[in-house]
Subunit: 369 residues, 2 copies
Amino acid sequence: MRGTQDEIVSTPAVFEEHGRPTLKEIARIARVNISTVSRAINDSPLLPRDTKDMILAIAEKMNYFPNSLARGLVSQKSETLGIILPKIFFLQGPFFSQVLSGIERISVKHGFSILIASATSKTADRHFPFNLTRARRIDGMLIINENRRIRNLNALKQERVPFVLVNRFIEDTNAPCVAADDIGGGRMAAEHLLRLGHRRIGVVTGSHRVAATTDRVAGYRQALTAFDVPFDKNLLEAGLFQQGVETGARCADRLLSRATRPTAIFALSDELAMGVMQAAKERGLRVPEDLAVVGYDNVTFSAHLSPPLTTIAQNPYAIGATACQMLVDMLEGRTPDQANVLIPVRLVVRDSCGSQSAQGTAQQEGEDA
Amino acid sequence: MRGTQDEIVSTPAVFEEHGRPTLKEIARIARVNISTVSRAINDSPLLPRDTKDMILAIAEKMNYFPNSLARGLVSQKSETLGIILPKIFFLQGPFFSQVLSGIERISVKHGFSILIASATSKTADRHFPFNLTRARRIDGMLIINENRRIRNLNALKQERVPFVLVNRFIEDTNAPCVAADDIGGGRMAAEHLLRLGHRRIGVVTGSHRVAATTDRVAGYRQALTAFDVPFDKNLLEAGLFQQGVETGARCADRLLSRATRPTAIFALSDELAMGVMQAAKERGLRVPEDLAVVGYDNVTFSAHLSPPLTTIAQNPYAIGATACQMLVDMLEGRTPDQANVLIPVRLVVRDSCGSQSAQGTAQQEGEDA
DNA sequence: TTGTACGCGTTATCAT
DNA sequence: ATGATAACGCGTACAA
């Protein structure tokens, strides 16, 4: 019951007496100077083995930990990364959690802590997020922002604080970023349907203010162009990512009540796709026979819908990890080889578009990133 | 395009020249002593209006921000809360995100930053999470741990660091905690089925190492006892929360292939319930006619399954917010009126158990916490 | 090899 | 009403 290490380790509360131990305290006990202790703690090559060991033993016994505030004051570093979130950040799905997980993994590996900060209400600090760097709380920032336009990017650059844009892709060497290949994802989904012979492909989107919508639609249009299919903006219906199933169903309803209804629908999230399938069912349309459906995200349940949903899988963990690695590299003086990186997505073919050989060009699973 | 405030505010980069401004720098320019500036910044009542205004104007213009490291060094506080996560924290669902959201909201309101920290691999710091408090990085901690047993709770208490256990309920005035009422939730789900006349109620659980499983099962057993129905441990099948749908289906399969199969199944998550419904369908069993199903969590898609899933809704945002409020209270010297608080859950009745008046006692929606 | 002394930016306690 | 100065805990150039 004590064996595993997923847990808090016990600790002698030695410091009960005089508060937490400091270098001075240790120096007093070890009968050496403070700086000698400091050197021992920092494993300075100047000190001989024995002195070092002697001091380290005492420090260990006293449960000493360097005060990182004092250290930071001297070094002008906090060894902390800030994750900057928009005021209303949609943490609904598992996406953000996975990104965070990737960030966390890399940051601990390099000894950085992470501070989570979201824009507060307007009454609060209007200097956000620069208050954090100006107050020396963080050394760099990972900016998570789903908006299509990054406002005041210039201010960001001027501040001269290392940052990485997470999940927002822009082609700007001065603005490092890591994002999923939303354009590629949109294209792959559309191509899949086009190859199966579909020509009227409806799209159920999220808000056009978020980049996920505009980029994926852009990819969809690329595919259309490649197949010489004219773009018809009446085939687009905008729902809300936050209310995926409801709005997905509503949008699908509108699409399916058109005079010439689409033979396929590309939904920009699996939840939207779920709504689409539901709406189709209610109209007596069979998926995939009467309507092919493609989703986006490959969330856990999508494999278990009936029929199992063909979808685009992203890699949020890799996004977080890569972004964090880039930031750490910058902070440690290395230059990342790429400033703007795209994390590939992949098409997961299941049953919601029918057998691939049924219509159109037969083909297996070649279209991965 | 500049009007909204969801974004980064622009900032004159005045400090380009001499690094970031400090009290000393401002004092030099204002031709006053450092301590005068300090008083102005901290709005000391000793200073007359005009001096204060004069200094503040300069500070503002120079874009001054107090160095929180230096402040912390003096005040012995970091104004930072730590969120402690287990090594492998299942962030799959939206649950954690919502808890985090609640924490974040309250903490910014009180001027605290939040530091995210998960237990690292065993090679790293074996003092986790006390390294954080000992290094003065955080003033208190919110401990998120899904395990049934909290190991070394004593070490935690001995460390004399303010903490709150999040989503783990224990009856211990010395260990403040905030959690969802899992026992109540289990009971409510089972009662619902019992009222509808079911007597053989299968349970698809998660791992028995996590409290969510044991507590909800405990509640289920309470309901059984209240209805004089003997507990049959063969009606329990353990799946995995992380692989909800798959293991849910597998467990349901085992349950449904029993000689006398259950007439209802209580799944401890909506994903598990989804798997249960799928398994039922594959056996040609109709839900709810042949099998009633209750889920847990009320995730977004559960309202849109066919049939819509009856489930237990938790309130993760409230859990986070309440826990954080308690911690802040402790840090600011207030004593929370309750040390161990239970956040109520509620039964959301949909169609997966059939009409309530169909069998058993008719009743409306009285059983909320 | 080890000690001395100063500075990091701030607050607080003295004076004046 | 304001200034000088000593902490806070640590790192480090310089001395010894």
